[in-house]
């Protein structure tokens, strides 16, 4: 490590290329907020970054207990990074439970910053410690920094008139101040944010700012080691921080602008999808209509109705909500109307793990409806790619007159990364051609298909002369009248499948990259992108030949998928499920794909993937 020159008067900072910090505390300690503020300042500073919020489903689990621990991990670096980091090099533990729940992950020799005030008898008991780990030498492999954060906070905010209890609540800002000093993060963005957030409660704003500054000053006075992680060299452009749910919402709005059609969202609150509803409901000036429906079924029903009426019908959900929408999704398949179902995958079955990530809805998306009911599937692979995936889902849905499922997951939804903002000219055109004229003599046939896309015409109410009825009963080819004719059902089943299949002509081919002479391909989909990329980097660093490909379309697969897969001797598929893509790949291409699977509610670590790939590759 080199010593870098820094500002005059400031001691030299030790230079690092990357750092992984985990903030952990009680769910009432404001750890998510602390993490987000640190992330904001880090983005502002110019590092590349990735985050992983990890919090319990309970709003406030019993204070001081292990189930109540909430954590936020950030990985930042002076180069482009792909994951929120395997193991934190720094752990900030606000109480004994947070220490106990997270210590196992901290790197040996890592930096452990604790709020020593919280290590008193009652908290230690609640966390299941018989002796105080700060005193018994059990933490000797780490560099421990004990800070009496509670006392320092109370001291710092004296004079604001807040009660002791209220004052203590600012201790997360004190911790943030300390870390900000250690890693040379600017305080101003956070101060501005606090003043805006608590504009109506100036006392609280002041206390938080005082605590933040006190933490910063403590770092300096106590001569804690100071580090520097230089800004990353990123492609030129304007950047912002974005998480997957925001990016989905922005992508849907952008697609609505491109299609020149209003957006209609029917949604029922569910973790972790609700933020898309929250975000879209703020943008009424784009003509976005949002309805918080009475249930998941109504939510998709309303979206179908809106699509029939000529809007872009959207519904967003997660976990059990996907089950509830299945019947209506089948209706949308039969009606052949545009509809975008966004599913933020989370751990299952049933209520499962509402706040934890998983990729276990792929087969449901693919097959989870009665009858032959094909639906195109698009999957996002990073927080910012959620924007493009949403645009793509709308484009396919409108072009092919079909419902489309957009899969993201809890990790993408809540994890943040810097996003180089696109200019509008990068967005695809989404032409909409409503039917305006009869298409068979003086009649209008609602199921007369386009020769290329096999899409049926979209004739919306208000168009004179095109009055027609559509429904869930099987329809006669062309006229759309009810038909129980066996030949017709065979034809319509094949037609619906062919229409979805035809999309393969209209999507990006599957790209692979890596060593030309690699014999092993790691194939992924969805949020494993970063972990797989990081694992492959490590393998290459060990001179192991490896190639990587990532699917953005799961139904249909890109046309060249079989060709790409067959180029390699071995295909390894890491997934956060029990092998769902691997099943599809085996069935579709008769390739003996090998699975690496994990369902622990957390993304793969690059290191764990690295080892498993090596095992399977040999």
């Amino acid at each position: 490590m080199t010593q870098a020159p820094t500002k005059q008067g400031e001691r030299r900072r030790q230079e690092l290329d990357r750092v992984v910090i985990r903030f952990a505390g009680d769910s009432g300690d404001g750890m998510q907020l602390t993490g987000e503020r640190f992330t904001s300042a880090t983005a502002f500073f110019g590092n590349d970054l990735a985050t992983l919020p990890d919090f319990p489903a309970e709003i406030r689990a019993p204070a001081g207990t292990i189930p109540g621990v909430s954590a936020f991990q950030i990985h930042f670096a002076d180069y482009d990074i792909l994951t929120p980091g395997d193991q934190p090099s720094v752990l900030v533990a606000m109480n004994p439970a947070a220490l106990k729940a997270n210590l196992e992950d901290l790197q040996h020799g890592g930096l452990l910053i604790v709020n020593s005030d919280a290590f008193e008898k009652r908290n230690l008991e609640k966390a299941g410690y018989e002796a105080n780990p700060l005193d018994d030498g059990s933490l000797s492999v780490f560099q421990i920094v004990q800070i009496p954060m509670t006392k320092l906070t109370v001291e710092a905010v004296k004079g604001t008139g807040l009660s002791k209890k209220e004052a203590q609540r600012s201790k997360n800002m004190l911790a943030l101040g300390v870390i900000s000093w250690m890693y040379g993060r600017p305080l101003d963005p956070t101060i501005e944010w606090l003043e805006k957030k608590f504009a109506k409660k100036p006392g609280i704003a002041q206390a938080n700012v005082l605590a933040l500054r006190a933490g910063h000053a403590f770092g300096e006075t106590a001569e804690l080691t100071a580090y520097e992680v230089k800004p990353a060299v990123l492609a030129p452009g304007t950047y912002r921080r974005v998480n997957g749910n925001q990016a989905v919402a922005y992508g849907l709005i952008a697609a609505s602008v491109q299609a020149k059609l209003p957006l209609f969202l029917g949604s029922y609150p569910i973790t972790p999808a609700s933020d898309i509803l929250h975000e879209l409901s703020r943008h009424k000036n784009f003509g976005v209509r949002t309805v918080q429906a009475e249930d998941e079924i109504a939510a998709i029903g309303m979206a179908i109705g809106a699509s029939f009426a000529g809007h872009i019908g959207i519904t967003t959900t997660s976990g059990p909500g996907l089950d509830l929408k299945s019947e209506s999704l089948g209706l949308a398949v039969a009606l052949e109307l545009p509809l975008i179902l966004v599913d933020i995958q989370r751990g299952g079955p049933s209520t499962g793990l509402p706040t934890k990530t998983e990729q276990s809805d792929l087969l449901h998306a693919m097959y989870g409806r009665h009858g032959e009911s094909p639906v195109p599937i698009v999957a996002a692979y990073s927080a910012s790619s959620c924007f493009w995936a949403a645009v793509e889902a709308v484009r396919l849905s409108i072009t092919y007159m079909t419902p489309v499922i957009l899969l993201t997951d809890g990790y993408l939804a809540t994890g943040a990364e810097p996003w180089r903002l696109p200019t509008m000219d990068k967005l695809p055109q989404i032409p909409v051609r409503f039917a305006t004229q009869p298409n068979v003599g003086d009649q209008f046939w609602p199921y007369l298909r386009d020769d290329v896309t096999l899409a049926r015409p979209w004739a919306i109410p208000g168009t004179p002369g095109l009055e027609h009825r559509i429904g869930g009963l099987e329809k006669a080819d062309g006229t759309g009248n009810i038909s129980y004719d066996p030949e017709n059902h065979q034809l319509m089943t094949e037609m619906r499948a062919a229409k979805v299949k035809a999309i393969e002509e209209d999507i990006e081919p599957l790209e692979w990259r890596g060593d030309e002479d690699a014999r092993v391909l790691v194939l992924g989909w969805g949020s494993t992108y970063g972990s797989i990329g990081a694992a492959c980097r490590r393998l290459r660093a060990r001179d192991i030949k490896i190639a990587q490909a990532h699917l953005k379309h799961l139904n249909p697969f890109p046309k060249n998928t079989g060709q790409v897969l067959r180029r390699f001797d071995k295909v390894i598929i890491p997934e956060m499920n029990t092998g769902q893509l691997a099943k599809l790949i085996r069935a579709e291409f008769l390739i003996d794909a090998k699975s690496i699977t994990k369902v622990k509610g957390l993304p793969f670590r690059a290191g764990e993937l690295e080892e498993k790939i090596v095992e399977l590759a040999s």
Binding site: T238, F264, N285, G301, A309, R420, L421, F434, G462, L466
Partner: protein
Amino acid sequence: MTQSNEGPSFLEGVGITEATGGVTTLTRKDFTSDQEVRWCPGCGDYAILAAVQSLMPDLGIPREKIVFVSGIGCAARFPYYLDTYGVHGIHGRAPAIATGIATARPDLHVWVVMGDGDALSIGGNHLIHALRRNVNLKLLMFNNQIYGLTKGQYSPTSEKGKITKSTPFGSLETPFNPISVALGAEATFVARTMDVERKHLPKVLRRAVAHRGSAFVEIYQNCNIFNDGAFMALSSKEGATGNRIYLEHGKPIRFGPDGARGVVMHPDGQLEIVDVASVGEDKILLHDEYRDNPSLAFALSRLADGPTQPTPMGVFRDVDRPVYGDAMEHQLHAAAERQGPGEIERLLHGSDTWTVD
């Protein structure tokens, strides 16, 4: 034709055409589709369809502005027989689908046709919430007190003790009173009529059309196959005069031969049917459709336990409340005025951006 996709006029709805009706006069035939009607011969649905098809031309609404939405059941075939826009949805979900249509496009006239199982069993949740939101929908519930399409199981409006295929020892369940349910769900327009009411039925439907917002109409409908005669007490010749209590706004609630019977309200709010002569005409309750408080309408809905005794028919309640789709459109306009029309680049840039050179 003005139906094309020009310009980003997000707030104006999409491709809304101006009324073309009025130029040419439409007839019942114009509203009749080319599809063969396939209900059982003698089904009450025929009379309702005929009434609706006949009513449509009189409303002066162009066909292309009308959408019929249904769920599943015998009644749900209704949209196929009308030459308007239509969606035959899935069981119970018609009010939800219709809410999407009416909220996206306040310019449309959206009708929902449901059976009693569709509306009150599988779709009960959607019905009550559509009513609560006051979505601009005309919701017709054909109540035959039985499951017809699945061939004769008891429904949520079947009387307790009813023997059906699925209740060979009698139903254990207390039925819903649909009018009470609708009133409890904050419906702004609630009415009841019957398939055999050749004059009253169109009159009530006309009133529903005139009401902007959710209009719930229960239509007693005879299923001559699985529940024949369920409404005999009202539909028979004697029943017509003896048991139908026609509600008329501002008038004393009287019925029976020569209006000999009437409804009085006791000091505790309880309603009772009495001989008018025994209490005096001035004691007879006056009907008030426009009363904001739904208590009177609710009390009237409880006058009969079922259609086997004197039963109120007509409009129970008709009050104004902001309409869901209109109010939402208002919010969109207000947002556009306040924030300016949406610009995607401005949205993406938000407040916290940084530049890399």
